[in-house]
């Protein structure tokens, strides 16, 4: 910035400020003061902790870094945590700045695996094996119960660097289909891509909504539905062949050929490329214009996202969640959660790692987990018919409790089962929620049932860390999808074969070979130690 003169003026302005002409200064100082008092916890060691700022804390509840939950944590926990709000949208940028200037909090949580990997490579975070062994109680116990935590936390040097949370494996994405349309047109649930194509064709051309107009789309192609079609053909970039991890070009071509067929036959929204995050498709689904669509069944909020608006628009709509059709590559799960999710690291410069460990221990305990998730029993929550705590008054709960989810990044939901999942949170008394419960069950079956496997070798968050050099290559080759998208929409003038040829060319020129060698090598050396799909499936609910 314009330094020389700025400094001069800055100095003058500081003088002005110093004379306290403006009440602003004293005001700012004051607020700082009460914050540290609020906790009322003398004698506890102090640490700093990052917390996402999402702008969703109601004003009367205070702020994300100073509210009834931070007070509760500081009063009941072993240390005094001072929270540093990290705006969610720019979390990586902000944390990078704090790390670079030496101001980063002692305990840092971020969802971005790549960012935590970067911190590891820059040696900004510490190995925690000894800390856990010496100072942990509840996290250590958790780790003994779920040894996968250790597997997932290990970095290439073999030591653990991360803390995480364990959840039951459930269906995350769901392949929804309009059963009333199937019945009306006398179709059956598609079991293969070919049948899927036929159903989509019928949904588009045979006026399933009966309004006399050809105004429906068979299937969505943007957002998560597009990804699900890729998954159907196991187009997940890296696939196993003869025990080796290789790039799945053939799968990619097959998936895009299928999409091109859908597009050429006019069964999808022609503007799907403009619908970057699938919002348009979701709106079309909600207004009853799309017959096959991928939504989610993982959180009670999904009812209002994917089901309630549809039922309001089309009261007769009947939805089922089906299995992904089986392609020549197999039958795959549409999408599941990451049962062992790493979230938290300790800053290498933390002054008191032991206190940080104690904080993590406390936040991972069942006591803290239940309090943060359900609030105070009797005030926020009551035990329902199924013996699970649930909100007593939805409005009060959302005002006082529901925004604290980012304090639950170390809470292992699996320990609260069967009371943590969506199955226990929906109310079977309400017709809409009852129907959605049915969808949740169908989707768990569709994702986790017999004969369904996970398309990728492991969840994206457990794929290995790329070095800087390889990340650049990765970014460069990501343009490959542009070629395929072009092929989908270009009709006869640009075929999938041409796209493949161009993609391959770009791949070779950008050094894709290095990337392939890295993955092959990684798989070869860590096929016994890394966290794979079979490990994920350990966390599926056993009947």
């Amino acid at each position: 910035m314009r330094n020389a003169t700025k400094k001069k003026w800055a100095a003058i302005a500081c003088l002005l400020a110093g004379t306290a002409i403006f009440p602003a200064c004293s005001n700012d100082g004051g607020e700082q003061g009460d914050k540290s008092q609020g906790a009322g916890s003398q004698g506890k060691s102090k640490i700093t902790v990052s917390i996402y700022e999402r702008g969703n804390v109601p004003q009367e509840m205070g702020t994300i870094d100073n509210n009834q939950w931070t007070k509760w944590i500081n009063e009941n926990g072993p240390v005094e945590a001072q929270y540093v709000p990290i705006p969610r949208g720019e979390s990586v940028q902000k944390l990078n700045l704090l790390f670079a200037s030496g101001d980063a909090p002692d305990v840092v949580s971020d969802f971005a695996t790549s960012f935590r990997d970067q911190l590891y490579q820059q040696k900004q975070i510490m190995a925690v094996d000894d800390l856990i062994a010496e100072h942990s109680v509840s996290y250590k116990a958790l780790m003994e119960k779920y040894p996968e935590l250790k597997k997932a936390a290990a970095k290439p040097d073999g030591k653990m660097y991360e803390f995480g949370r364990v959840q039951q494996l459930v269906g995350f994405q769901a392949l929804f289909i309009r059963n009333d349309w199937l019945k009306k047109l006398d179709l059956k649930v598609p079991e293969t891509p070919e049948e899927l194509f036929e159903v989509a064709k019928a949904f588009t051309e045979n006026d399933p909504d009966g309004n006399g107009q050809k105004d429906t789309f068979g299937i969505a192609l943007s957002g998560e539905t597009g990804s699900a079609i890729n998954t159907m053909f196991r187009d997940v970039d890296w696939v196993l062949e003869d025990g080796k991890l290789v790039r799945g070009w053939e799968q990619k071509n097959k998936a895009n050929e299928f999409k091109k067929r859908l597009y050429d036959a006019g069964l999808v929204d022609k503007d799907f490329l403009a619908d970057k995050n699938g919002q348009k498709a979701q709106q079309d689904w909600n207004s009853g214009k799309i017959g096959i669509f991928v939504g989610r069944t993982v959180d009670p909020v999904n009812v209002t996202q994917y089901y309630e608006p549809l039922k309001n628009n089309v009261p007769d709509a009947e939805v089922i969640a089906i299995k992904l059709p089986a392609s020549e590559y197999g039958r795959f799960a549409i999408g599941v959660n990451n049962p062992v999710q790493m979230t938290t690291v300790i800053n290498a410069n933390a002054k008191n790692p032991e206190a940080a460990m104690k904080y993590i221990d406390f936040m991972a305990s069942k006591e803290a987990g239940e309090m943060l998730r359900y609030g105070v029993e009797g005030t926020h929550s009551v035990k329902g018919a199924n013996g699970c705590l649930k909100p007593q008054d939805a409005a009060l709960f959302s005002k006082e409790v529901s925004w604290n989810i980012d304090f639950q990044l170390l809470m292992s939901q699996i320990e609260l089962e069967p009371c943590a999942g969506i199955l226990s949170q929906l109310d079977p008394e309400k017709p809409l929620e009852k129907e959605f419960l049915e969808l949740v069950k169908q989707n768990n079956e569709a994702n986790l049932g017999e004969g369904v496997e996970y398309a990728s070798i492991t969840h994206g968050e457990h794929m290995p860390t790329l070095s800087d050099n390889l990340s650049v290559i990765q970014t460069n080759v990501s343009k490959i999808s542009d070629f395929y998208n072009k092929a989908i929409v270009a009709g006869a003038s640009y075929t999938i074969e041409q796209a493949y040829a161009e993609a391959l060319d770009l791949w070779n020129k950008s050094g894709g070979g290095e990337l392939a060698a890295f993955y092959a090598d990684w798989y070869e050396t860590s096929k016994d130690t890394a966290f794979f799909a079979k490990d994920m499936w350990q966390f599926a609910k056993k009947e």
Binding site: G55, P58, L97, T304, Q305, S398
Partner: protein, 291 residues
């Protein structure tokens, strides 16, 4: 004089082009405004385009009850009002001497000031400087580094230079000193450019996002721009992250609440514009024509 046929066609064409350009700017805003006062049902089904569908003010209710928007709003006002005040004072105090021919070394000063436009310190050095001045977490971190914008300074200097020298001489003869000349002659003559610069600074401070994001570590001090961005980003991120297979689950703020937040953010600046517009047009042309 009657316009010729060609002129008439030309002006019709101009009107059409400008109307289209105007609509291009206006329609997105109208769309957002309509989203913010439509029912959730209509928004989720994509029925809202230009007109609100199923009139409902729930979004605003949710916004004011469920987010700290009032606090952020007050913070934004605070930042803007004091920021504009400080910036104006120092811009004026810097510009005036540079117009005086008897000010020793004014070319060197001007060069020095313009020279700073060529490069910046980079984020991390700036952060470290601000931290060593102990300005982190205070609004001084927003006000001081950009206190005087060189561009605005030059605009003001040029304007003052164009005040005829005779005015200066006449007031000197009547016994007018520097301060009186500045405050009672120069400033009243410069209202158009002062209004313009005030608006430039005001919009800048009102929209300040990155500096707040980087230099403020206290939720209670975030301004509207940061709040609105976080509300919107949380939603965007969710869909992006999903593509990479992340399982972040959050309570989304519905689209219409985001729309309402955007409206709350742009309204004050839109309200200010009409009052300053007549000065604005005059002020922006300053320096365009040298007489």
């Amino acid at each position: 004089m009657k316009p010729s046929r060609g002129e008439r066609i030309y002006s019709i064409a101009v009107y059409i082009v400008l109307s289209i350009a105007g609509l291009l700017c206006l329609l997105p805003l109208v769309h957002i405004a309509s989203l913010s006062i439509s029912s959730m049902q209509a928004v989720a089904s994509g029925h809202v385009t230009i007109y609100p569908v199923g009139l409902s003010f729930d979004a605003y209710k949710q916004l004011f009850e469920g987010t700290p928007i009032m606090k952020s709003f007050m913070n934004s006002i605070w930042i803007t009002v004091f920021g504009v005040l400080f910036s104006m004072v120092f811009t004026i105090l810097a510009a005036y001497p540079l117009t005086r021919s008897y000010f020793f070394g004014r070319r060197t000063y001007t060069f020095g000031i313009v020279f700073t436009m060529l490069f910046g310190g980079g984020l991390i050095p700036t952060y470290l400087t601000i931290r060593s001045l102990e300005l982190i977490n205070t609004y001084w971190a927003l006000w001081l580094p950009g206190l005087v914008s060189v561009f605005n300074l030059l605009v003001l200097r040029t304007f003052i230079e164009n005040i005829p020298n005779e005015v200066d001489e006449a007031s000197r003869i009547d016994g007018c000193g520097e301060w009186r000349y500045l405050l009672q002659i120069v400033l009243p003559l410069s209202t158009p450019v002062l209004a313009t610069l005030g608006l430039f600074y005001g919009v800048g401070y009102w929209n300040s996002f990155f500096n707040v994001l980087m230099f403020i570590n206290d939720s209670g001090k975030f301004n509207l721009a940061v709040l609105v961005q976080q509300l919107i980003q949380s939603q965007m991120l969710l869909s992006q992250m999903n593509a990479s297979g992340s399982s972040e689950q959050i309570v989304l703020s519905p689209e219409m609440v985001n729309a309402a937040a955007i409206i709350v953010m742009v309204l004050p600046m839109m309200a200010v514009y009409p009052f300053l517009q007549k000065h604005f047009v005059k002020g922006v042309m300053i320096g365009a024509v040298k007489g």
